[in-house]
Amino acid sequence: MIGIVVVSHSASLAEAAVSLALEVAPPSSRPIVLAAGGVDGGLGTDAAAIAAALGEADSGDGVLVLVDLGSAVLSAEMACEFIDPDAAARVRISPAPLVEGLVAATVAAAIGGDLATCDAEARRGCEAKGEHLGAGSAEVDAGQAPSSGARVLELRIDLPHGLHARPAAAIASALAPFDAQVTLQNVTRGGDSTEADSPMGILALGVRQGDVVEATVDGPDADAAAAALQTLADAGFGES
């Protein structure tokens, strides 16, 4: 599993962001390593402390670094020059906003996403907010047209808070073992469809209580994947 490092000028900001992320992330999450705050408890970043955090976070699968702003970016880049070049090659500094990116990356990492996947999920971290506020989606999953053998499920979502981060992660996680392409669309509210392997894409559907989601399941494992999705939905997506 990849490691995650949070670089912030403020230790309290970083700690709070991590609390928020772990609130929604599956329990399989690895600890998130912090490199935050200045020497005397004030605001600041420290490339040497970030380099140490990178070493602590890396289990060999790479590290995604979430940063706040300004010197956090420069110090994180400098830290990559302080560590072994092979380890540095496994580090990505995310351009995502800190809170949204951290939540997205934590969820993606916990369900086994590799470094590239977690990086991409973090970048999509703002999509749900953008959809809600009418800013539109930054990226539309074109996907392939389903084959004639595709299974279609209609799922009425009864969760009080709709499909938020935890159930979105549960869906992506439940479908991960199958060789199947699962596309979700909010038929109640319209909008773009999304691939179900992306928790951030699911969040961007903006599914609220009572909405109906249409799942199109295709591929060699379509039957098993559809059954797993139906079982998860019947169980309240693990929320009940």
Binding site: H9, V39, D46, L74
Partner: protein
């Protein structure tokens, strides 16, 4: 031929630390106008830690300057930490033993290029590079005259570059959030970078 030694180098950093301390309020005030009002206090904290280093603990000038860079990285806190830290680390990496004017010029070039690469900045962005880049050019032009005259030319060029940041619109750093409103203010980074070169011209060579 005059060369730069460890004692001179420590005197340079001690002088720079004193100049930063004397000008901390000015630097913070400049930063308050276009940034986040911490450049003076951040640099003062970092240089105070640098001034506490004992040059006798280091095998040579390059080792001492590497420690200077790492100290700034870990104590300054703001963007000046990685920027000045990079300057000294790259400077140290390129500094020959018993550096003459040409050797010091090579170190200065490595430091200035390191700052540009770290900040992805170029001249005209209203940053410390607006003092450092013209200083490097002036140094190179005067390098044949020896360390001290070349550094004096560099310090004068840095001051001219610093003054020329006043009308610029910031394109990097916190001041860039202000856009056009950053014009009319002298850049704090170019101001501290000029102090660095003025200290060098008083102590090296």
């Amino acid at each position: 031929m005059t060369t730069v030694d460890l004692a001179q180098t420590q005197a340079w950093l001690a002088d720079f630390a004193a100049a930063i301390h004397e000008n901390a309020a000015l630097l913070t005030d400049l930063d308050r106008q276009i940034g986040d009002a911490d450049h003076g206090s951040n640099m003062d904290r970092g240089l105070t830690a640098v001034a506490a280093l004992n040059a006798d603990d280091f095998a040579d000038t390059a080792a001492y300057l590497k420690k200077v860079g790492m100290t700034l990285v870990s104590t300054v806190g703001g963007a000046s930490g990685p920027l000045y830290g990079t300057f000294f680390l790259r400077f140290a990496g390129a500094l020959p033993a018993a550096a003459d004017a040409a050797g010091l010029g090579a170190a200065l070039r490595a430091g200035v290029e390191g700052v540009a690469a770290r900040g992805r900045a170029e001249e005209g962005d209203k940053t410390m590079l607006d003092a450092l880049a013209p200083a490097l050019r002036a140094y190179d032009e005067a390098v044949g005259e020896g360390v001290r005259p070349a550094l004096e030319a560099a310090a004068a060029a840095a001051a001219t570059g610093r003054d020329a940041t006043v009308p610029l619109v910031a394109r990097k750093g916190r001041a860039s959030y202000l856009g056009e409103r950053s014009a009319g203010h002298q850049d704090p980074g170019a101001t501290s970078a000029t102090l660095l070169l003025e200290s060098a011209a008083r102590n090296l060579g």
